[in-house]
Structures are given as structure tokens and as C-alpha cells.
Amino acid sequence: MKIALNEARCSGCRTCQVICSLHNFNENNPKKAAVKIVGHFPTPGHYEIKICDQCGLCAAVCPAEAIKETDGVYRIDKEKCTGCGECIEACPSEAMVQHPAEKAPIKCVACGQCVELCQRGAIYDADTREVQ
């Protein structure tokens, strides 16, 4: 699963956020989703999608060594994470999410649930699908 974006197709529906929180937290709570949708209205009128591209910079800056890579996906060890926020600062995609009820940041683990429910192909799997 290589998550890729075609932002021009995003209609801002946030279904990606709902399924992300349901799948990864067992909660219906888009504020706990590892994907952010930012609207740019009234001008120029489009949506921006912020999601991790597994670049690994978060792991490189983590002072607690709480972020580890397996099979190309970086995961946060919640036990080790001190909630210092260094990774949030460092993320070039601004894709690490903070939630008041969670100590550790919320980060995409490339589960692909958002891809499955993005009818518009705004979030897609570059391993299996060409850009629309």
C-alpha cells in the first residue's frame, strides 16, 4: 500500500477520517484520524489533504526512539512515546495529529481504509492504481 493523493478530486466529505478513527481507535471520532482535510475557501476553493508519506523524519527526530519502521511503515510505540511533540514539529507533511485525550500523536499506518472508501480517488493506492 503506497498512499498517494490527487487533491483536485477531494470533495471534502471526510469519510476518510471517520473510517480511520473507527478502524484504528474503535471510535467514531474524526478528530482521531491520521488524515487531515483542510478547506481553502472562499478562494481559491479547493481541499488540501494532509497524510503521512512514510518519509521517516519523525523517527529520526524522536528523542525517545519510539517510532520504528517495519515494511516501509513507521509506527509509534505508545508505551515509549513521551508526548514531547518533536515529531509533530518536524513532520514536513504536517500529517501528525494531536488529540487532547491521547498522549501520543496519531500517525498513519497505511492500513488503506481511507483508500477503500474514497469514491473520488483523491486518496488512492499508487501500488495498484494509476492517478485518475
Partner: protein, 615 residues
């Protein structure tokens, strides 16, 4: 409580007091949500006879149990109050993202009571609720205000606002949200303006508890994918309601020249394909929508951004005021949105004024300029006068019914409204069931409750028999979506099946409703809002259900249905049939038997205490 935000937030703007009360299980089970909650609360808490723009009125904002979940298009919220436009039950719904957000903040209902002495906005971040100063926002456009508050509070806030028209108490001011979604009808923005509330900004971080999370995920996915697989999905999401004007014209239902005709010459220029090519910059969806119909547009010749025009706007600004240039309509749509005016009522009012001018009922001296159908300057001039309540605008700001009473002549015959609410965008002299639907809508002449032009076409446009039955069926199904917090357009437009909803409601809420139970609740709300009108107006009844005389005295002037008219006898046939099937008396008032059968015994007792004679 499963499926719900769980709380009712009450804010008294006069005293600054607030309280948060849990939503009760009984309230949830018996009234489901959104319009059900609003109708019940307004019935219980408003005293009949209050001034809709006084502090005794309440603005109730509510959403339903499926909003904010994985169920498709759970993004609907409704606002309700005693309507300043009609004096009876008022309510309007809109999409966007604020319905979901209020649930994440923990609320199913927000009640604004009293009135603030100075401009304010309501700030809600979970259980932190504040009434904040809005003097820096007062006077700003509805869209500008939303942008200013987003910049101030952050992207994660969802915000609804009013424009200058709401501040000035124009009777058809709307509530705006998400840069182009509006709760347009029955003057809910007017009520918000009367309370001096410029905006409501909400951000929530909580989860919506689900009765059966796993089953909700499986069913939610199945429903979404069911929508994705619909054959006409692409057509629908490419053009949305902008695909409708040409069809409506070809069947002779497109309001033209203040409803003189149902056919507009040059309507082909309003085609969704032309609009998409010239103006659309993005497909914009509401929360959880699998079939986004919002067309976000840049209108190049006027250098403005606007969402839409939607069908109703193109019908009432375009057809009704005779504009055949989609970019001009886009520009006028932008003006109405920024001023905070309902485009349906505004298009009616301005078309009416143009006709009054043409007929010599209004003069250049009265208006301040010459008015002409199809003249951009005429529309612009009037819409700005209306929003500012200046000159002629101060009369037009009251709506067509009031304006006709002031202007005199025979203008009341072509003031296109029912119960004081201007008619939605379907000319219906050749569509008896749709005529009946708008005549009997609990809010006034509005399409939200039942729309049945396709039924008229399917079974015969002259046929009267059986039409009332269909209207009643639709008046329960369409507003059912306004109980659950979901958009109806997946069902209406792409043919998504109704039978999914009882099952998914069970997984989300734990309440085990049958399809029949849900329709019964929808019918109960229908009877309650009808009773609300009767509680307000002593002589309420049949005479309030007639359309303007134009529809039964004048024939359609041009197009495929030229010559059509529905006589008063035909309208009475439809009403007789309708009242009988509803279990109401011949004057269109709910009977004791019907109210009790619906579990509305408390309504009988109250109506009697106000001296109403129930048969």
C-alpha cells in the same frame, strides 16, 4: 446514549445563563432527532402569539442520530423557530459539516433563548461555551464572516453565520455555513439576527458512541459502496442540481417571469454542462457524502466565487426574473449568499416587483429606477435595497404577500406564496400532485417536504385521483431524512434504497424501529406542526392551503403546457382527498381521533385550553 451527542445545550442570550442537560432516552426514541426534536421543543416551550422577532422566540438547532457517523451523507442540521415569514412553525435544513461537529462537541440540540443587547457570536469547544463579542463582524457578509472566524479560531471549527440581511431582519434571511450551504427558508437567519447572534462556531473532540460498532462499520461500508455503484452517480456528481433546469424546462415546469409561464426561452444556456465548463472549480460535498453535488464556482466576468447556483437558485433568479446567462445567475447567487438572503424567496420577491413595475402597479418614483425582467442592474439594485431595508426594499424585505398587500391592484393574485412563504422552483399548473404538495407543506410553499413532478408525469399530468395519497407518502418519507440527520438526495437522485435505514439505525442507536414505525413518527411530527399553525392562528385551516389566484385563474402562457390551469374545483378535489386520507376534518384540521392515535393527546389538551374546537 448510543448514536447521539447526548446533550441539549441551552443558552439564554438575555441573561447570559447556560445549561447543559442530558438528552433523555424517551425523547430520542419517540422523536428520533432534528426536525422531530425541534417540533417537540417548540410546541412545549413557545407560548402562542409571541413575536417571532422578540426575545420570547427560540432558535433551535438540531441534528439526528446518523449525523457524523459512517452512514452516507450524515451531514444535515435543521434550525427551527416560530417563523417571522409565516407566523407559524418555521424550519430549514442545511448540509455541510456543522451537524457532525455539534455531535462531536456533545450536543444534539442547541437552543438559543432571549436576545443579546449587542452583537455576539456563540463559541463552543466541547463543554466550553461562551457568548463572545461580535462587533468586529457585524455588518460583514455571511461568507466573509465565516472566513474571518475560521482565521480567528482555526480550521477545525465549523461555523454558521448570518449576513447583513439577517441583521436587518429581512424576513427571508438565511443561515449560511461551509461557504455556500444555507438553511434558507422561513427566515431562520432573521430569528438569529433578532437575537443579535452573528455566528455559531463549534469544535468537538468527542466520539459518538455506537450501539454496535462493528455492525455499523460493515453496514456503513455496504451503504457507501451501494451509493458508489449507482449507475447515474457520475452524471449526478458532475452536474448536481445544475443538471435539472433544462429538464424542468422541457417538461414545462420551469418558473418563468414570475410564474406566468413554465417555459423559458433560452433556458438551454443554463445547462449544467455549460455551467461546468464555464464556472465550476471543484466538486464540493457535505459531511460523509458519497455523491457530492455542490458545484463550487468561480464566476470570471464578475471575479467572484460562489457555491452553485443550485437548481432552485437558477429557477427563481434565472427563470423567474428571466436571466439566461449562467454567469449572471452565478453572480447574483454570490450577492444573495454574501447578503445572507434565501435565493428562493429573493428570486420570487424580485420577479414579483419586476412584474408589478411592468403592470404599472409600481412606478419609477416609488422604486427609484426602472425595473425590467432580465436586467442585471434591476436585480442588483433591489437585492441591495432589500438587504439594507432602504426605500422600496423595506417593503420587499417583508416578502411577496406583505408587499402585495401594500402595493394593491390585483398584485396579490401573482404574489406567488402559500401561508406567506414564497413558492419553490416548480411551476405546477400541469403537475397537480406537486401543486398539492406545496399547498399543504407545513412550512408554506416549499419543496423540502414533498416533490412529486415525476409522479405527475408517470401517472398522467391531468389525473387528480390518487395524487393526494402519493403526496402524503412523500410528506412522510422526504422529511424522515430530516429526523435522522442524513441527506435525502442519495434516495431521491441516485436511487439509493430506503430499506437500509431501519437496520443501520439499529446498529447506531440500539433502537429497533421498523420502516413502518419510522413513517409513523414522521407522520406524528407532521400532525404536530400542523397543530402548531392552528394553535397560532385561530381561523387556520383550508383557506391557508390555497395557492395564489394566478395558478387557478390564469393559464400558463407559453411552452409545452401553454393553456394549462387548475381550477379551484380541482384544487378542492385534491384538498378534500388529502384531508380525508390524513384523517383530518374537511377544514384541514387534525381530529381528536387522529391526534390521539398518533400519541399526541397532549396536543388535544393544549389546543382545547386555547379554545380550539377539535372535531
Amino acid at each position: 446514549m448510543y448514536g447521539y451527542g447526548g446533550n441539549i445545550l441551552r443558552i439564554n442570550l438575555t441573561t447570559g445563563e447556560m445549561n447543559i442537560q442530558p438528552l433523555s432516552q424517551d425523547m430520542a426514541r419517540e422523536w428520533i432527532g432534528q426536525r422531530g426534536f425541534i417540533a417537540k421543543i417548540l410546541w412545549d416551550e413557545l407560548k402562542p402569539g409571541i413575536d417571532p422577532l422578540g426575545p420570547a422566540n427560540k432558535l433551535v438547532m438540531s441534528t439526528g442520530p446518523l449525523a457524523g457517523t459512517l452512514v452516507p451523507a450524515g451531514g444535515k442540521v435543521s434550525f427551527g423557530a416560530k417563523s417571522p415569514a409565516t407566523g407559524i412553525y418555521g424550519e430549514s435544513c442545511m448540509g455541510g459539516h456543522i451537524a457532525a461537529e455539534m455531535k462531536y462537541a456533545g450536543y444534539d440540540v442547541i437552543i438559543l433563548e432571549g436576545a443579546s443587547s449587542k452583537p455576539c457570536y456563540i463559541y463552543i469547544k466541547d463543554d466550553q461555551v461562551e457568548i463572545r463579542d461580535a462587533s468586529h463582524l457585524w455588518g460583514k457578509g455571511a461568507i466573509q464572516t465565516e472566513k474571518a472566524l475560521k482565521d480567528e479560531l482555526g480550521e477545525e471549527f465549523q461555523i454558521c453565520t448570518i449576513g447583513p440581511a439577517g441583521e436587518k431582519l429581512v424576513k427571508y434571511a438565511c443561515i449560511s455555513h461551509d461557504f455556500g450551504r444555507q438553511a434558507g427558508r422561513t427566515g431562520m437567519g432573521t430569528v438569529m439576527g433578532s437575537k443579535k447572534v452573528k455566528a455559531i462556531a463549534i469544535c468537538g473532540h468527542n466520539s459518538i458512541p455506537l450501539a454496535d460498532l462493528e455492525a455499523t462499520v460493515v453496514k456503513g461500508k455496504e451503504m457507501l459502496k451501494g451509493c458508489f455503484a449507482k449507475e447515474n452517480l457520475d452524471e449526478w456528481q458532475n452536474y448536481g442540481t445544475a443538471g435539472v433546469p433544462v429538464w424542468a424546462n422541457n417538461i414545462g415546469a420551469f418558473p418563468t417571469k414570475n410564474f406566468q409561464s413554465s417555459y423559458l426561452e433560452g433556458n438551454e444556456n443554463l445547462d449544467g454542462k455549460i455551467m461546468r465548463e464555464k464556472m465550476v472549480v471543484n466538486d464540493k460535498g457535505c459531511f460523509g457524502c458519497p455523491s457530492p453535488c455542490g458545484k463550487y464556482c468561480y464566476v470570471k466576468p464578475y471575479n467572484v466565487y460562489t457555491e452553485g447556483p443550485e437548481y432552485e437558485t437558477t429557477a427563481l433568479i434565472g427563470g423567474n426574473c428571466v436571466f439566461t446567462d449562467i454567469e449572471q445567475i452565478g453572480y447574483l447567487n454570490y450577492l444573495c449568499d454574501e447578503l445572507g438572503l434565501d435565493t428562493i424567496s429573493a428570486g420570487n420577491v424580485i420577479g414579483f416587483a419586476m412584474e408589478c413595475f411592468e403592470k404599472g402597479i409600481l412606478t419609477r418614483e416609488q422604486v427609484g429606477m426602472e425595473l425590467k425582467f432580465g436586467d442585471l442592474e434591476s436585480f442588483k439594485y433591489l437585492v441591495e435595497k432589500i438587504a439594507a431595508r432602504e426605500g422600496i426594499g423595506n417593503i420587499l424585505a417583508e416578502g411577496v404577500k406583505y408587499a402585495a398587500e401594500q402595493f394593491g391592484g390585483d398584485s396579490i393574485k401573482f404574489a406567488i406564496q402559500v401561508k406567506g412563504l414564497e413558492w419553490s422552483g416548480y411551476e405546477s399548473r400541469s403537475a397537480p400532485s406537486n401543486m398539492l404538495a406545496y399547498m399543504t407543506c407545513d412550512l408554506g410553499a416549499h419543496h423540502n417536504r414533498a416533490w412529486s413532478v415525476t409522479h405527475d408525469i408517470a401517472v398522467g399530468r391531468k389525473v387528480l385521483e390518487g395524487k393526494a395519497r402519493k403526496v402524503i407518502e412523500l410528506q412522510h418519507i422526504r422529511p424522515f431524512f430530516d429526523l435522522i440527520g442524513c441527506c435525502r438526495l442519495q434516495w431521491v437522485e441516485i436511487g439509493f434504497e430506503l430499506e437500509h435505514y431501519p437496520e443501520v439505525l439499529r446498529y447506531v442507536t440500539g433502537f429497533d424501529y421498523s420502516q413502518d414505525d419510522l413513517m409513523k413518527i414522521s407522520e406524528k411530527v407532521w400532525n404536530l406542526t400542523r397543530a402548531f399553525a392552528w394553535r397560532e392562528i385561530e381561523d387556520f385551516g383550508r383557506k391557508y392551503d390555497y395557492p395564489p389566484a394566478r395558478f387557478y385563474e390564469e393559464t400558463v402562457t407559453t411552452g409545452p403546457n401553454a393553456g394549462d390551469v387548475l381550477s379551484k374545483e380541482e384544487l378542492d378535489f385534491l384538498l378534500d382527498d388529502y384531508y380525508k386520507l390524513r384523517g383530518w376534518d374537511l377544514n384541514g384540521l387534525p381530529t381528536r381521533e387522529k391526534l390521539e392515535q398518533m400519541g399526541l393527546g397532549f396536543v388535544v389538551r393544549q389546543l382545547e385550553s386555547y379554545g380550539r374546537k377539535i372535531s
